[in-house]
């Protein structure tokens, strides 16, 4: 199919309307569902449908008659925990945890019989109600999916499908109808801000590169999503790679760049593969290449895999990495928009930022601005994980309170076994190793760039990790500090040595060596590292420590002064004892103890020798009557 033809017909209705009627079975093929066997389910569907006499098509083409069933894979639908997910549209049914054994029932009862297979529906853990599809499933119904909407619907490996649903129309408009100034102005007017963490206005950034007088300029897509606990960018690259490429093309047109590069984190093999395929398809269709939309302008795109360095998410470090160097940041200014890759003006945008761009051009900046808050317009995708009933990808307008996300969309806080724990909420860590924690007091805080900054946290890339009462906040701070310490590139002394010392101080707290001076020192050093580091990694590295100290000071003090961890997670502070009244002398703990620290006569209360005890907790696990206490 000629791409220009496809583009001119889409949007006028001809393409979309015929295809909207096609009944579809969509199997989620994101990383999570694939791990749970989504491909087996897909293959089983092919076999079952073929055997059932129903007509099935695997690729969407203009000549579709209308009575076929389209079987397709989609990108991540965001409800990873319940995968593999299978949806049937337009019936509006979402099946969860589908195994290949279930496929026959879906084909016979739903596709042929028009019935719902009740046992595969999602059950809301708080209300115990079965949810038929997206509309009555609180996880989806309460979201406002813009960037993610097509992730769970389009086949990420089929460029025609993207085009038939209006894809590359905005890029065409940008190249054919708009001037670079107009594009920058539209984006500036929309108020779009960088989704990668900083929140810098995208339009202004582009403008800075646009006015540079240079024959060579670059667009880089930052897909180096390094924050542990965040996977928004992975899902978009896997689920709708063309939206990212289209956003990059519009950016390229806006600043006058002819080379684009996608820098993807190497831990995301599926995202790398899908981005590479998407680039190849766009080239084959003539969308990327020497003569874009007949304008005579050339744009090419490459995909590069990162090599595993968190700091490369920082713009200047990423540029160094692309140039084949150690990924170490350099001072700004000059900003990359003035002098970036190979000394040329370069714009680096986050995946999610770019995925918003084509929509803004399609619907206009006013419509985009109508969602979200005044200073933070639009929606933001969060990766909701940790101790909540529904984990997954969540897209909500800026300004949505945390309570809505944790309790309504997330379904509430759970214990370690995954059961709902009423009043179990302790904190939410937002923004990964650069962010901070939010407590119960912040549950009604609207999530937006400024409001979060005012309480010592940040939007960051959007990781939201919910933690229950059983989580030790000092250990969490240590976890993040260990991460940033390991990832510090070593350029700035305060970051390199300071994070190491902060980690050592936290170890002192956790292992019972801390005294009154430790907490002061932690705070002082934390502030010094913030001031004395060049890039975002060092500047924000102490945030998790400072923010947990601010909101959970009491917990720190218990560790320091009482040598006690209220959650029992800090092993060194434990002193297990056998309750002499409860103990029946059954001997189970003696058998379980790996170091022979427990002694006692049969039917007599046993004792733990603290010299030999390694505080592993095996005795407590073995004891059936919970007589081992303090662990």
């Amino acid at each position: 199919m000629n791409n220009t033809e496809a583009l001119s017909t889409t949007g006028k209705g001809t393409g979309i309307s015929t295809h909207a009627q096609v009944r579809r079975v969509i199997i989620c093929a994101g990383t999570g569902c694939m791990a749970n066997g989504a491909m087996k389910v897909y293959e089983q569907f092919k076999r079952e449908i073929a055997g059932s006499g129903l007509r099935v098509i695997l690729e969407l083409r203009a000549e579709a008659a209308g009575d076929e069933i389209r079987l397709s894979k989609s990108g991540c639908q965001g409800f990873c925990q319940m995968g593999p997910l299978v949806s049937v549209v337009p019936d509006g049914i979402l099946y969860t945890k589908v195994r290949s054994e279930d496929v026959a029932d879906i084909v016979q009862q739903t596709l042929a019989g028009g019935q719902v297979v009740e046992r595969l529906l999602y059950k809301d853990p708080s209300t115990r109600k079965s949810c038929r599809g997206l509309e009555d499933n609180p996880f989806y119904a309460l979201q406002n999916r813009l960037v993610l909407s097509e992730c769970g619907f389009l086949d990420p490996e089929d460029i025609h499908e993207y085009m038939l649903h209006g894809g590359y129309r905005a890029a065409r408009k940008a190249f054919v109808e708009m001037s670079p100034e107009e594009i920058c102005k539209t984006i500036t007017d929309s108020g779009l801000r960088g989704r990668g963490g900083g929140g810098f206005p995208t339009g202004r950034k582009w403008d800075a590169a646009r006015v540079q007088n240079s024959a060579k300029k670059y667009i880089i897509c930052n897909g180096d999503e390094g924050d542990p606990g965040a996977f928004m960018n992975r899902s978009v690259m896997e689920g709708n790679p063309h939206s990212v490429i289209e956003g990059m093309m519009i950016a390229a047109r806006a600043i006058g760049a002819n080379e684009m590069l996608v820098y993807v984190r190497a831990e995301y093999p599926l995202a790398v593969e899908r981005m590479r395929n998407a680039v190849a398809d766009a080239e084959r269709e003539g969308i990327l290449g020497k003569d874009v939309f007949g304008t005579g302008l050339a744009v090419k795109c490459e995909v590069m895999e990162g090599a595993g360095a968190f700091v490369c998410g920082e713009e200047t470090a990423m540029i160094a990495s692309i140039e084949g160097q150690r990924g170490m940041p350099r001072p700004k200014p000059p900003f990359p928009a003035q002098s970036g890759l190979w000394g040329k003006p370069t714009i680096i945008n986050n995946v999610e930022t770019l995925a918003h761009v084509s929509r803004i051009l399609n619907v206009g900046s006013e419509v985009f601005k109508s969602i979200g808050t005044k200073d933070s317009p639009g929606t933001k995708t969060f990766a909701l994980t940790g101790h909540v009933a529904n984990t997954g990808l969540v897209e909500v307008p800026f300004g949505t309170p945390l309570r809505e996300i944790v309790y309504n969309i997330g379904g509430g806080v759970t214990d370690d076994a995954g059961k709902i724990w009423k009043n179990g909420f302790k904190a939410v860590q937002i923004g990964g190793p650069s962010g901070g924690c939010l407590t119960e007091d912040h549950l009604d805080l609207p999530l937006a760039y400024e409001s979060l900054r005012s309480v010592g946290a940040m939007v960051g890339s959007g990781g939201l990790v919910a933690m229950n009462q059983g989580t030790c906040m000092v250990s969490i701070a240590r976890f993040f500090m260990e991460f940033t310490q390991r990832e510090s590139c070593g350029k700035c002394v305060l970051c390199r040595e300071g994070t190491r010392q902060l980690l050592a101080l936290l170890d002192d707290v956790i292992e019972g060596r801390a005294d009154a001076g430790t907490l002061d020192l932690l705070e002082k050093l934390g502030h010094s590292v913030q001031i004395g580091s060049l890039c975002g990694l060092g500047k924000t590295a102490p945030n998790p420590v400072l923010s947990t100290m601010r909101y959970f000071r009491k917990e720190y003090e218990e560790h320091v002064f009482e040598k006690r961890c209220r959650t029992g997670r800090c092993k060194a502070l434990l002193s297990p004892e056998i309750n002499q009244v409860k103990c029946k002398g059954c001997g189970l703990c003696i058998k379980a103890c790996p170091t022979g620290a427990i002694t006692g006569e049969k039917k007599q209360p046993h004792h733990i020798n603290p010299e030999l005890c390694i505080k592993c907790g095996a005795c407590a696990t073995a004891c059936k009557i919970h007589a081992v206490e303090g662990i």
Binding site: G32, P228, F231, R326, T391, V465
Partner: protein, 184 residues
């Protein structure tokens, strides 16, 4: 049993490096993709190959080693036949990934310093985040992702692989389709 991949034996080995270097037009800017391709081939970066790369690209060996040691993905020592990666991202961490790591280390006798078993069959390492947080805790064995893993299940998976390795007939049949094994 499994043989240690030998870095360079004979001219035949360098041919692959040469073809990789040619693919990237011997430009120093392509150093990272070049090293990635070499590691894909040898499963690690042998020292001799690194110096060869430096000479070919006409850059100091210190720069090649500097890059190779900077990035977490590059391994300067050979890895085991089966690589087990335990995700220790935030989500996995709060959902108890450490007990899984400890169970695997105990089972295989590896430590933080020595990640590979002496028989070169297993390497146990941690990774910051695999982006499969919805399935936390997660481990990856030879590119296959296992979600909501427990220490017991992880150990059972290792036992399965060991059993498979012990009966050579089944190895080829049930091998994952991921990266080719050493093809000499």
């Amino acid at each position: 049993m499994a043989t240690t991949p030998i870095a360079v034996d004979g001219a035949g080995r360098f041919e692959k490096v040469v073809s990789i270097l040619d693919r990237y037009a011997r430009r120093p800017s392509g150093l990272i993709p070049i090293l990635q391709a070499i590691q894909h081939e040898y499963l690690y970066l042998p020292e001799e190959v690194l110096t060869y790369v430096a000479t070919s690209l006409d850059i100091p060996p210190a720069r090649v080693f500097g890059v190779a040691t900077f990035y977490a993905h590059f391994a300067l020592e050979p890895k085991g036949k089966h690589v087990i990666r335990i995700c220790d991202g935030t989500a996995c961490h709060v959902k108890q990934s450490l007990p899984v790591l400890n169970a695997l280390r105990e089972k295989l006798g590896t430590t933080e310093k020595s990640k590979t078993t002496p028989d070169m069959l297993f390497t146990v390492e941690t990774v910051a985040c695999l982006g499969a947080c919805g399935l936390a805790p997660v481990i990856v064995i030879d590119e296959q992702v296992y979600g909501q893993i427990t220490p017991d299940r992880a150990v059972a998976l290792v036992d399965e692989i060991k059993a498979m390795e012990a009966s050579p007939a089944t190895v080829t049949a049930s091998e994952q389709p991921s990266g080719e094994e050493c093809h000499e």
